[in-house]
Subunit: 177 residues, 4 copies
DNA sequence: GGCTAACCGAGACGGTACGTCCAGTCTTCGT
DNA sequence: ACGAAGACTGGACGTACCGTCTCGGTTAGCC
């Protein structure tokens, strides 16, 4: 593995930064996450971080997009059973996974960082919607909205029952026949 | 109003801190909001702030709870028409009002501050649900979840059409008769 | 001893900074002397240093002027015997004392720092000349110049013989009678 | 001129480094002179500098010795008239020439760099003394010392009058006859 | 005339210190 | 007793250079 030459950046440094950022976020939380801490944990000079990223959120976004997106690939289609399964996966992702912790931190920062908000939407949320196979955006929002609401806002547990009721109410049995 | 006295805290100082915090949040965003900045704008010593609040989020929470909660009082009851009206008010609050900006910032911080999250829930969200007159929490979440989702996550516009469809889907006409 | 209050600066902090700077200069030399190192050795925050001094040379000048000037008070008058004694003291100061090490460092910096050069002249050199009781500046320079030259430039030892010859040549015996 | 060969270093690179160092010293002063700056100005890679010089002072010394020494060749011998002329040339060199600026910077660094001090003495000062034709070192020092003193220490102007008095005092008319 | 060694430029790397900013604590004075 | 003022320790910020390194390109001189 090369480190510092005219071919450009060191992949080794890049990966250890992303991993360190991920780990430290989960360990100490966003507020206690510092560039200096990441550099130290990654065994990398601060300047190397500033050369390639402009802020800690950008590091997290990078880490999130590269190692988390695929975990979340919805499968199946918009049929109710598949929908329920995918919503359960979404709930697990948002509330239980490490990548979800990173996502919550990014979502939080996006509240006062429009550029980050835009990147999160185009590079993650929009792709989620596409992969889920929904043509009706409002319908999609009525399904995932309550999940995000509990995960990000109330913190209330997202039970299977909650998801089943949500799917049933959105696709009433009467309309299935 | 008294300043430097033996009669307890200065109401004048308290109000000018809350106002300064509110203003600076809207002007410069959460990240650029500092205790020192608030103290300077409010014409108050830093120590005075630390004596009564423990962090900038607590100042914001104080400001939010005292001057924004009442704006949001739902009216009417859980009947569909009132529900739609209240959801429209909620959407306006979250996306258009200054208090909404404070709320988004607080929500963001709550992602990595469990104490703040708890206070936001007990002192704001729970009361909202109560005042809205919903006995079924899951039903309430299916209604407001999509609103919060668009306001906090996707940033997509919350149109009247979106709200009407949401209400209609949640209370299908068939079930009204 | 007070530390940080509205009466102004902490004398304790001031003195420990000056002492730390002096010590570190002698121990490690000017190039290895850093503000961070001084702060650490003095048990003081970097900001406290930057609040009162603008550079490491200013700290050294402060230390030099306060603790070294009096050591050098010339005594007697411009009579040859007193002159020789005072020149010996000057030679010892420049080449052997800790304060002399600080002075050499300051002289060095003054080569590319006109403000420092000016302060050194007005606050130290001029006073030296005055205290020595010389009315003829050129005469004074012919006496001390060779001492400084050996101390700062050639590093050659300044022997008693060298000083005696210097005084004899400057005040020829013929002129004494 | 070649770049990339197996016959040793590029004269082109060497000269442009020396010139860049000289120029930058005069322009920005010793403290602001950096290896990176020299490399950039000279259009040369940093590594090329580190391959041939070990520090910025070594570059300056190289530049100084190669382009300044000859300017200073004393002429004539130790006779009073020649001496005065040579002292005037020395004063001009130290206070007015670009090479003098480099020399002052080197002298300054030599205060805390014994190796540099040694090289300056053997490769410049000793040769000066030899070329001046003085057998009595102390006598030489009594002549040049006051010049260096004013140039390096007090910054006071070195007038023709000052030099004439210096020579007269050192070689009293009575002793000439 | 292709090979190859020596030197070149470029520039990324791990580090250290810079000078600044803000956090949170403390002490004193004035009201 | 409280508020204003402001100095203090502490620590992260983002920047500038340090000195080291690896790489690809150029150019002799040799086979």
């Amino acid at each position: 593995m090369h480190r510092g030459n005219r071919h450009g950046r060191s992949e080794e440094a890049r990966l250890s930064v992303l991993e360190a950022a991920d780990d430290l976020l989960v360990e100490k939380g966003f507020a206690q996450l510092t560039i200096e801490g990441i550099a130290q944990r990654a065994g990398v000079a601060k300047q190397t971080i500033y050369r390639w990223w402009s802020s800690k959120t950008e590091i997290l976004l990078d880490a999130f997009l590269s190692d988390a997106a695929e975990d979340l690939n919805p499968r199946g289609n918009a049929a109710p059973d598949d929908v329920a399964t995918n919503l359960r996966r979404l709930a697990w992702f948002l509330t239980r996974s490490d990548a979800g912790a990173v996502f919550r931190a990014l979502m939080a920062e996006a509240q006062h960082d429009p550029a980050l908000a835009a990147r999160l939407r185009t590079e993650y949320l929009d792709k989620q919607k596409e992969r889920a196979g929904f043509t009706d955006g409002a319908l999609f929002d009525r399904l995932v909205g309550p999940i995000y609401y509990r995960a990000l806002v109330t913190g209330e547990e997202i039970t299977d029952r909650f998801i089943d009721d949500l799917v049933t109410a959105t696709f009433p049995p009467a309309s299935r026949a």
